[in-house]
Amino acid sequence: MFENLTSLEWLLWLILAGLLLFGLMAVNALAAVYAERKLSAFMQDRLGPMGQGAGFHAGKWGMLQTVADALKLILKEDIIPRAADRRLFIIAPYIIFIGAFIAIAALPFSEYIQVIDINLGIFYLLAVCSLGVVGLITAGWASDNKWSLYGALRSAAQIVSYEIPAALSIIVVVMLTSTLDLQGIIRSQEGVIWGILPNWIIFNNPFAFLAFFIYFISGVAETNRTPFDIPEAESELVAGFHTEYSGMRWAFFFLSEYANMFIVCGIATVAFLGGWQSPVPGFMDSGAWGLFWFFGKVLFLIFVMIWFRWTFPRLRVDQLMGVAWKVLLPLALLNIFGVGLWSLYIG
């Protein structure tokens, strides 16, 4: 669709898409934070944010709580520590944000809604997802704070380690669908398998089933969520790499953290759960329903992540590395082998 656009139309298209994506990220963060607060509250026998009475308050059931939070962050004083490396300190949140932003651009929200459909889609997503770690290290180093440095180094080690099992389990998907194109991957998951189940990759064979869990666990680790939240372990490192940040700069970290959750869950949905395909083929399957199914699946996975966070304790640094290198990596390698044999002899 881009071939016959003039350069002005190109520019307009870019700006429009950028604004839409930014809006999506902001709404996603607002909604996810609200969900996080409310869900944690329900899991912990609390009410969570509740607005009551007249005057300024957080709205019915605290719906405006995150809006108020965002306002507070915008109005907050911007503090840059005197010892910090100013340029790096300022640029770090944007690096992380850009990493999340360009990843979200390639996600297929439905059959027709996708900002840019590149034929290397899933490869591109895996590649740009790891861009954020540059920002993390920059932030941790530039803050000139020992705690931030610890957080940054931990997260660098963690994200790099977990990318390997994540990528290896995506290879399973590529092997089964023989395409790197996101829409192509989704299209190949059409129909029914084993009689009743939708023909999603996760149900394709036992190895793919395992691959989904490897990917999802690695995804949780890549987004620094509990039980893998050691880079910002609040009871050890207080806040890790973003300890020294405040106001809008901090909000950018926050925004990209939730955007990263969305991306990881989005990739999992596309690669394993049939993207915008309906779970029952032919049922509510056309047009805008794709949007519904895609967001439904992504939000469910985000819910699972939130559920994890309020249930599990946190692993230790070396245990976390142990999980990545000693458990997930061998399993992911075996998986590739298994899928190869499966598609050769059975599938």
Partner: protein, 365 residues
């Protein structure tokens, strides 16, 4: 690299500063620096009458104020030779044990928080709240009670207390299973605490570590059994000791587990005390007109939730004590930190610190 953990840090359980020498994530030396909460408790006591000291004892270990009151009044009563009515003794035991449960709930909850589990903390606080409600019902205060007086109590139990206490116990016992399901036997929790920070029994004894920390190392030493004070000799209960169920004896998990079991033992004691408690009796009957112990001194120790809480009181025959010294179990527990946490990772140091369950109000006094 030298890292300062604290004095403002979420996992130091108060204003403690740990000067930690690290090599990457590995900790090679830990120096606890205390005194940020020093309020001259012992010096103050030399200028206060014996009754006025009681609210100060509240503020030492503010998590277990009833037990602090208890130890102090028992010591002064023994010095003066006062026999308190039986009902008073039973009420004191009930309060002390309820307070022990509340204290352990807080210790376990914040320990979960140190490990990174947020939800058990709130569950335990929810249940602790019910104990605080019972205290509020009894003496109006929720944290600093000033409830036990020399020779008696400030108030008798209010109407409906016994039923409310039974209600709480019936509610609480099944809750322990919930904690176990959510935290105690969680795989990640066990990974983080089993075999970590092992405190061998002889090291614990050499350092004078007492309470659940010592029992976690497998030594069945509990003053309620070993040197029964008040009416503790009339109750049936066990002393849970660390058995190394998931790791080795004396690791963080054992110290944690001993506290869980102790809560159940406290429930047993409270049930028996509620049953045996005489229903009549004036809690003010034995209050002395003037608290003026004869010349002499006494060292009396009681089992607080943190261990062996001792008061050394020297009386010069005046209404003001000549000297009061408090032996703090949390202080000795902190002393052993460097010994058992050296060579572990930063995350482990905080896990070990949490498992020792220190209260800075008591360490600094």
């Amino acid at each position: 690299m030298v890292l300062n953990i604290g004095p403002q840090h979420p996992s130091t359980h108060g204003v403690l500063r740990l000067k930690v020498k690290t090599d990457g994530e590995i900790v090679s030396e830990i120096t606890p620096i205390i005194g940020y909460l020093h309020r001259c408790f012992e010096k103050h006591c030399e200028n206060l009458s014996y009754e006025q000291v009681i609210p100060y004892t509240d503020r030492c270990d503010y998590i277990a104020s009833m037990n602090n009151n208890f130890g102090y009044v028992v010591a002064v009563e023994e010095l003066m030779g006062i026999e308190v009515p039986e009902r008073v003794e039973y009420i004191r035991v009930i309060m002390a044990e309820l307070n022990r449960i509340a204290s352990h709930l807080l210790a376990l909850g914040t320990y979960g928080l140190d490990i990174g589990a947020f939800t058990p903390f709130l569950y335990m606080f929810r249940d602790r709240e019910r104990i605080l409600d019972l205290f509020e019902m009894t003496c109006g205060a929720r944290l600093l009670y000033n409830y036990m007086w020399v020779g008696g109590l400030s108030h008798d139990l209010p109407v409906g207390f016994v039923e409310a206490a039974y209600d709480f116990l019936d509610y609480f016992e099944p809750q322990v299973k919930e904690y176990n399901d959510l935290l105690t036997y969680n795989k990640i929790f066990i990974e983080r605490t089993a075999d970590i920070g092992v405190l061998p029994a002889e090291v614990a004894i050499n350092y004078g570590v007492t309470g659940p920390n010592l029992r976690g190392s497998g030594v069945a030493w509990d003053l309620r059994k070993a040197e029964p004070y008040s009416v503790y000799d009339r109750f049936e209960f066990d002393i849970p000791v660390g058995k190394g169920l998931v790791g080795s004896v004396g690791d963080c998990w054992d110290r944690y587990w001993v506290r869980v079991q102790e809560m159940l033992e406290s429930v047993k004691i409270i049930r028996q005390a509620l049953q045996k408690m005489p229903s009549e009796g004036d809690v003010h009957a034995a209050l002395p007109k003037k608290v003026r112990p004869p010349k002499g001194s006494i060292y009396k120790r009681t089992e607080s939730p943190r261990g062996d809480l001792g008061y050394y009181i020297i009386s010069s025959g005046k209404p003001v004590p000549f000297r009061i010294k408090m032996r703090s179990p949390a202080f000795t527990a902190l002393c052993v930190l460097d010994e058992i946490a050296r060579g572990w990772m930063i995350s482990d140091v905080l896990a070990i610190l949490g498992s020792l369950d220190i209260v800075l109000g008591e360490i600094d006094r």
